[in-house]
């Protein structure tokens, strides 16, 4: 038998163990709050998520307490192992959940599993601690002290969590930090009682590994949120902001810059040129004269504006985009201005952060050209910008023989939606010339040229071939031809009081499993 390792003098053992009770109690509640918070973040419905997490956690604790009766010998050794288990499961709970939050099914499984594991382990601990302390106190005194400390710890946790931990430390760091504390307790406990040296060394070794894991985790966690978002977006995030309307995320790799609004790709620098050249230049050609004043609705990324500014005749561009977060980013961020050439800061460009519907209602200006580049009609608020009422307003903003172009979702993935937009445009008195282009990031994408009677698909462009990067006159006619699988289908008019388009659109994209 090996000689026992030196242990702490007995008079310190008792307070040390009580201190561990406090740490264990605090971190137990912290893990419960962390998982509950994440669950309500990711799954929504905070009341249901919190009650489920609390319920599972308490039940698992009960199971743990019951299981403690099967631990009969080597109490301290078991206790240290369990404490290390809590440190790992609890400490890593938030990072694990973050890592997989994008996949809904796995998230739920992992969530409830983690809660159950932590619950069982914490449930095991208190009975073991009481038994470890039995040597120094009688049961009455012991239970009173341990439980009192346990509840005080709980109170401290529940006060600290919302007021200090969550706002200042962040949710992942909070869970890692308390995991680290649990690890320290485990490490410290190896000094409490005499044990065989081999056992002590093994326990300390494990404790150090656990502490190191959590410690490293803590330091990388600062960038963890962004990194797991980055995983979701498939590239590092260079800019992220939550505006009142949407989450704005810009990602960048050495090759490609992408903009996401609420997780939906808006453009990729790989092929945005195709999209924006196709959006702007056919409309200018259809206008049949040099454009002088242009209204851009949506298009806060300034890329359509960049294309417009290629025409020296342009005197004034009014850009109306709801979200100041987008236009600010694309006016100021170097990665953004590199793409749009600083178009939003051009003296000819005026930016209004306003609702386009209202702006069109209140404005009295008229324009040669309007470029309408709203997000797809995936909800009723955006859907209003695809109604006959809106196109009536748009008509009032166009001067004599003015022309507009409207981004109109994909005729390939949302065929009836596309033709519903065309039908609605026609119902509001415009002549429509629908066309489409292939943009690799998006698929086959649709636009509609609109104007007064007599509007025709253009056959030439007003810029020379060298001024453009993708579009050329010879491909123009092809854009206005629809193959049989995307050609016109009967589709309803989208009205403010009957937004059939939103229902059709959600259905069509829903079928694609998006």
């Amino acid at each position: 038998m090996a000689s026992p390792a030196p242990a702490l003098p007995r008079r310190y053992v008792h307070p040390a163990l009580l201190a561990s009770v406090f740490v264990i109690a605090t971190s137990g509640i912290v893990y419960e709050l962390v998982t509950g918070t994440l669950a309500s973040y990711v799954l929504g419905d905070s009341v249901a998520q919190f009650s489920l997490v609390i319920g599972i956690y308490l039940f698992a604790m009960g199971v743990g307490s019951y299981l403690s009766r099967y631990i009969e010998s080597d109490l301290l050794e078991r206790f240290v192992d369990i404490e290390l288990g809590v440190a790992l499961a609890g400490g890593l709970s938030a990072p694990i959940l973050f890592k997989i939050y994008a996949s809904y099914g796995a998230f739920k499984v992992a969530l409830y599993l983690l809660v159950a594991i932590i619950g069982v382990l914490v449930g095991l601990e208190i009975p073991l601690l009481i038994r470890l302390l039995e040597f120094s106190l009688d049961l009455k005194e012991l239970v009173a002290r341990v439980l009192a400390l346990d509840y005080v710890g709980a109170l401290v946790a529940s006060i600290l969590f919302p007021s200090i931990l969550l706002p200042h430390l962040g949710i992942q760091q909070t869970s890692l930090f308390f995991g680290f504390l649990n690890g320290l307790v485990a490490f410290g406990c190896t000094f409490l009682f005499p044990m065989p040296r081999a056992v002590v060394l093994r326990l300390r070794g494990r404790a150090i590994v656990v502490l190191a894991t959590l410690g490293v985790g803590f330091f990388v966690a600062t960038r963890f949120v962004e990194r797991s978002e980055a995983l979701y977006f498939g590239a590092p995030i260079v800019y992220a902001e939550q505006s009142p309307y949407q989450r704005v995320v810009l990602t960048q790799t050495s090759r490609t810059t992408r903009l996401f609004l609420n997780g939906n790709l808006q453009f990729s620098s790989d092929d945005e040129v195709r999209y924006h050249e196709a959006l702007v230049h056919p409309a200018v050609a259809a206008l049949g004269r040099d454009p002088r004043t242009v209204l851009v609705l949506g298009g806060g990324d300034g890329l359509a504006t960049r294309e417009l500014l290629r025409y020296p005749s342009i005197e004034r561009i009014v850009l109306v985009d709801l979200d100041g977060a987008v236009t600010r980013a694309f006016s100021n961020l170097p990665v953004a201005t590199k793409l749009n050439g600083g178009s939003l800061r051009d003296p000819r460009v005026v930016v209004h952060n306003e609702d386009a519907f209202r702006w069109c209602e209140e404005s009295t200006d008229s324009f040669d050209l309007a470029v309408v580049d709203f997000p797809d009609p995936s909800n009723y608020a955006v859907g209003k910008l695809y109604t006959d009422a809106f196109y009536h307003l748009l008509r009032q903003r166009l001067g004599v023989r003015g022309v507009a172009v409207i981004q109109s979702t994909s005729p390939q993935y949302a065929r009836q939606s596309f033709w519903s937009i065309v039908t609605t445009i026609e119902a509001s008195g415009f002549t429509a010339a629908p066309y489409h282009v292939y943009v690799p990031s998006f698929g086959d994408w649709g636009f509609v040229l609109v104007g007064a009677e007599g509007l025709a698909a253009p056959s030439t462009l007003r810029l020379s071939r060298d001024e453009l990067r993708w579009l050329e006159p010879s491909t123009l006619p092809e854009l206005f031809r629809f193959p049989r699988d995307t050609g016109r289908v009967p589709a309803p008019v989208n009205r403010l009081n009957d937004q059939k388009l939103v229902a059709i659109y959600t259905h069509e994209w829903g079928q694609l499993g998006r």
Partner: protein, 532 residues
Amino acid sequence: MHRRAFLTAVAGGWLAQASGASSRSPAGGILGAAASVGHLLRDGGVPAPQGPPERADVVIVGGGVSGLSAAWRLREAGLDVIVLEIEPFLGGTSASSDDGAAPHPFGAHYLAAPNPEARAALRLLSEMGALTHWDAAGRPVFDPRLLCHAPQERIFFEGAWHPGLVPLDALRPDERAELARFSEVEARMTARLGADGRPWFQIPVDQSSRDPEVIALDRLTMAEWLDREGYRTRFLRWYVRYATLDDFGGEPEDVSAWAGLHYFAARKLRTPELEGSHFLVWPEGNGRLVKALAAASPARRRTGTLVTRVAPLAGRPGVEVVAFEPPGRAYRLEARAAIVATPGFVARRLVPGAADRGLPDRAASPWLVANLHVDRPVDPDLPWDSVIWGADGLGYVDARHQLTTLSDRTVLTYYRAYGGVDVASTRARLAVAPWGALADDVLRDLAPAHPDLRAETSRMDLVVWGHAMPRPRRGFLGHRPFEVPTTLADRIAWAHVDQTGLALFEEAQARGVRAAESLADALGKDLGETWL
């Protein structure tokens, strides 16, 4: 187990904090002075009028839709018209407020696209630009921006929101079948003409058929009619109850079957533009119509003025009106004619002898309206009207719905009708209920669908309508249906929705216009063709 209770409390408390700015309680109060001041009428305590009488050609008592419509009708007659209104605001039960994140209603909140026969209403809408033109078939076409935008409604049914007022997917087959049967009957009744060639149900109400077959429906309550026709499923019964509460503030047991069916079968306008919704909706509800009526007439308007007496002058043609501006001054006005545009129970007190004119004796339903000023995340798919199945109230409408702009601040207007038979004791209870208790009731009623609402609400203003609207009880059409007394005394006309017993905007307007036109001779004016 103590620990469980503790953990739950901890997490729950934190949750309440995390989900709102703080676990605060809203501020607010009860609006409208009329109830207490109005009691002066009943209980006395108004000082004697002093000074020489003020003069006007026509005095209109009451600045609700009926009174303002009367003034509107008289606008081209070159008369000095004055409107006296007890409340600090115009509009009566169609009043509204412009404070907060959006204008919002105190009462009436929509106007169903009026039938072509509601000519006064269409005239007003056309003046406002809300009626843009008439289509080839001679039907009115409305500005699409004013028709209730999609999505219109949702219902919280068995723990989840469903689009529309009917959660079809969640209903049992027998419930769906009964709904289908009911809507067939609804369609048939809508198209039905009586033996006299008039539609069974019409708005204005007095243009409805006198055919004894349809009038016979007034001898049943709506509940009795449902029983007779074999409608039994819980959803249909709830749906009809929702309708009678919404339109009349009464339970199906206390509302005439004629009135109940009128709700479903009086709207005749069918055009493609109205398919999605035929409701005209403004953020401030019918308060917008009140503003338009007020702006369209040169009449003088005096708010905060209680009229205590309207009587023919002794010995010469003309009318004497006594007015009181609480707390101080009472004075007299002399006019060539007067229009009393108040509910019947007020008219009876104001005009001596009016009680003998056969004024209908109507019960009135009490209502509670709550305006909740809330801060909450933008929801691009929030409908106009949210209804909670099984709640006491009728749900709430979102004042921002018709605005295209998104915002995280809005005003939700919650409605509750007290439909029980004993209106008097409900009214008495409401009259003394403190704001806090009523506000708690509202939040509790909405809690199943909105547990976080208390924390989201910064202010809740309440309006207690003791006599919100006449309740068309069984037999309310009387022995001579639709022959309503318009004259209260010589040169004193009456205008109010109490006359026909259905509280609808078009009805209030028709009553006001009729009263004004009935005074043409007394005023010696040719008012031209009728506007009705």
